[in-house]
Amino acid sequence: MNFVEHVAKQHLLVPAGVAVPKGRLADSPAAAAEAFAEIGPCVIKAQVPTGKRGKAGGIKAADSAEAAADAARTILGMSIAGHLVDKLLVEERAEIEREFYAAVLPDTASRSPLVLFSSRGGMDVEEIAAEAPDTFRRRPVAPGERFGAAEARDMLKGLDLGGSEAEVADILTRLHRIFVESDAELVEINPLARLADGRVVALDAKFTLDDAAAFRQPDLAAVAAVENPTDLERRGAEVGLKFIQLDGNVGVLANGAGLTMTTMDVISHFGGRPANFMEIGGEAYTKSETALELVLSNPGVKSLVINFCGAFARTDVMAEGVVKAWQALKPTVPVFFSIHGTGEEEAIALVRGELGIEPYDLMEDAVKAAVEAAR
């Protein structure tokens, strides 16, 4: 799972004590102009979880509020490697003296994390290794082995860092810690810059979460999911489910487009915010298990309304899928049912028996309870 730059910076580098340039997020030309007013001469960067943003035209400098707005206008709505740009990072334009490269990744040979550094940054690591091998250092750090300032300085020996050895060594130890503690598959700063004022800051940042470890990094996984909202939607589409992810916190699972929209409306009516639209009407009613998985994959969901009103769709079949998904995923969010129509006796008995939950008689009451629980 690749993280966008500003998330990697704010959720990983900054908490670990690695300095980044002053920056603000913007999602409109006006916001970019405002950010300029605060920050001054700046770089405006598309926030999409992929490299090659510069090549795609997703990075522009601006020297005035108008230029910032213009750049934002151009970049917003672009699509870079399949990601629609809907967010920009407006960042102070640092006066760069030197560019370095720093990264940590798993090393097959040593079966350990490998710290990489080069006193030449700004290009691909393959290019650095090929073109400037003298500037390149690699140090595996066995699990449990110490990698403190002394070890980092030892690794940097013989490189000219223009007087920034101590700062760089410090940053390498922090990067190593991020790698280990956050289950990274890659953490990379390129370029890591020494500025004219002597600060060493991460101009860009890449973080890839080890997908196999996402289960124990729920905060990071949630952050990543929020930043890529369309992934869940795409997953839904591919299994024939019309799933639309919204920014509310009450998850919705209902059968039929009409009933689903209505459930969302009633959530809004009672002051809540629906977290999704999900269509399991028609033949798709047999897919309630997958549908529930999708709804619960939305990290915004704080409570859940399951509202079945069976006509063609059999509520007993849907309830079976729900119970299956529930038992597999063991979610901790509170769930509120309302079940009526075709198959209701079996469906209610199943939910009662397997989940120990008593469905509400009125959907309005189920929704009210869910809205309350999500607060």
């Binding site: 019309k242 009933l259 929209m261 009633v266 009103c309 063609f312 009526h340 309005e364």
Partner: protein, 304 residues
């Protein structure tokens, strides 16, 4: 398009899983099913009914008024044309995802022949205590009870919810008309409203709409002329604009077709628009209590 006890019904695609299941439900509710169609099993008996090779053959052997289609999309056009040519009065098309060209061809054939079509992608028609055709829980007494409110819905699930609420409120239904979730349906919300206005047993109407298309706006024009109370609920108020919400027809647009447009049009026509489906029954009750019931003005003709 109100289904009646005296209507004779043919089930196209009767031998399929859904066709068999729902035919038995329909008959359990008193619907007079006279037979079914499956060209490959003509001459057999299925769920106790004769199976014919075509709707035309069936018409000769066992005349019927209504045909209901349990037919997959690719075969839907031929089945529909068969029934229309056979002279069916009312054709109920449950099938979703029929190619648009076929839908247009069927509507055109129906127009020429004077056949009333309902759907495609309708959940069907129910008249509690009389009959039902389609895929609604017409057999569930918690949902359907003979009563005074006519219900129009584009959605089967939402229609079920509203009928359930009306039954709990002791009002019941005079008729349920599922107009269908497709953008190009044979019977529009307005058509259904006119039929319920003419129906003597209907004393109030619950109109269950959705965002997308302009069927609710069109119906509002007619509602303005009615004396029976009309209560409406429009699904999709909270839907994010510009995104398709499952039904092909439901795209909220800036002007007509959106929630605001529909609500405004209906309220301007004197329709009570409620915020939750739970309020429909209460609002119908209030409307009926005001005595605005047009019970005597309807006709009892065959509306199909």
């Amino acid at each position: 398009m109100i289904i009646r006890k005296h209507h004779k019904v043919l089930v196209q695609g009767i031998t399929g899983k859904q066709g068999s299941f729902w035919t038995e439900k329909m008959m359990a509710c008193g619907t007079q099913v006279v037979g079914g169609v499956n060209p490959k099993r003509a001459g057999e008996t299925h769920v106790g009914l004769p199976v014919f090779a075509s709707a035309r053959e069936a018409m000769a052997a066992a005349p019927y008024d209504v045909a209901v289609m349990f037919i997959p999309p690719a075969a839907a056009k031929d089945a529909a044309l068969d029934a229309i040519e056979a002279g069916v009065k009312l054709l109920v098309m449950l099938t979703e995802h029929i190619p648009i060209r076929d839908v247009m061809a069927v509507h055109e054939a129906a127009r020429r022949r004077g056949t009333r079509t309902v759907g495609p992608n309708t959940a069907g028609l129910v008249t509690p205590g009389e009959a039902f055709v389609g895929i609604m829980p017409g057999h569930n007494p918690n949902v359907f009870q003979p009563g005074r409110v006519g219900v129009i819905s584009r959605s089967g699930s939402l229609g079920t919810l509203v009928c359930l609420n009306l039954t709990r409120a002791g009002l019941g239904q005079s008729a349920f008309i599922g107009v269908g979730g497709d953008p190009m349906v044979g019977t529009t919300t307005r058509d259904a409203l006119e039929a319920l206005d003419r129906d003597a047993r209907t004393q109030a109407v619950a109109l269950v709409g959705e965002i997308g298309g302009v069927m609710e706006e069109d119906a509002a024009d007619y509602a303005a002329t009615m004396r029976k109370p009309v209560v409406a609920f429009i699904a999709g108020r909270a839907a994010p604009p510009g995104r398709k919400m499952g039904h092909a027809g439901a795209i909220a647009t800036a002007n007509r077709g959106g929630y605001a447009s529909k609500r405004q049009a209906l309220e301007a026509a004197g329709v009570t628009v409620v915020d939750t489906p739970g309020e429909i029954a209460e609002a119908c009750g209030r409307g009926l209590a005001h005595g605005q019931c047009g019970a005597e003005q309807g006709s009892l003709s065959m509306e199909a």
